[in-house]
Symmetry: C2
Subunit: 149 residues, 2 copies
């Protein structure tokens, strides 16, 4: 199966938002998605884009996406933060995840970032297995903290 | 003791970098700081600033800082990410941390972000106590992942 990777466009957002909701369901937190396509439009394709994304496609259309933004690490400087790496359930195991992941590494290197950072749920073994193939350093012991306005 | 909060300036960077190293030491990871003042200058005060910060001052000078950037949550939209909240050891317990924290909340609200996000080490009880005062939601179960170039 032929999979190609390209930069995400504004018209992809409705499909991307479906993928985001699919991932939130998988991560057992569907109620936490308060984002909207309209908000994604403004924040990704307005005057000051906060995020960008890559999509993976095959002959049936979009089968996955990698959404990323620039994070600032005071320890290591600017880095690419991989917010979501998502492959549609029926297309998993075909290499789309690796292709998207490698595209993000490539982008970060090109931009002169110090590296790439992301998070993974400690029970998401398929994802952990993928990241280990790339010699990622996985670290426990941090709590995520949120204050919603 | 009078503590005032103001926006950080480029000339504050050498002092801020000392605070960052102090925090990394407290977090038992001083060897992870590969950032430099020069890099902080470029990434914070160049053409496309990636981060900003507030400083807390009293009559003796800078006693703390809050370093932040815009993160993109696919679940909740653009948010303020509080990268580091640091108060010099000899000035802790005087309220500088709360003032800096509240300033960040205020900034995020003004910018129309959906909320504030940050991380805390699960053994850093004084910080956890502070965050609980603000009804922050703290969540375990995520691994931090890094790939350095």
């Amino acid at each position: 199966m032929n999979i190609s990777i390209r930069e995400g466009r504004e018209e992809d957002l409705p499909e991307i938002f479906e993928l985001i909701k699919e991932l939130a369901l998988f991560e057992k937190a569907p109620e936490q998605v308060t984002n909207t396509i309209d908000r994604m439009r403004k924040e990704g394709f307005g005057d000051n884009p906060v995020y960008s994304f890559f999509v993976a496609e095959n002959q049936s259309g979009i089968i996955g996406a990698a959404i990323h933004y620039i994070r600032y690490s005071t320890w290591k400087g600017a880095r690419l933060f991989l917010e979501d790496l998502i492959v549609k359930e029926s297309f998993r195991g075909l290499g789309a995840g690796s292709l998207l992941f490698e595209k993000c590494i490539e982008l970060g290197k090109k931009q002169g970032y110090s590296g790439m950072t992301w998070q993974v749920l400690d029970w998401n073994q398929p994802a952990i297995d993928l990241y280990n193939k790339y010699n990622s350093q996985l670290e426990a012991g941090w709590l995520n903290a949120n204050l919603d306005y």
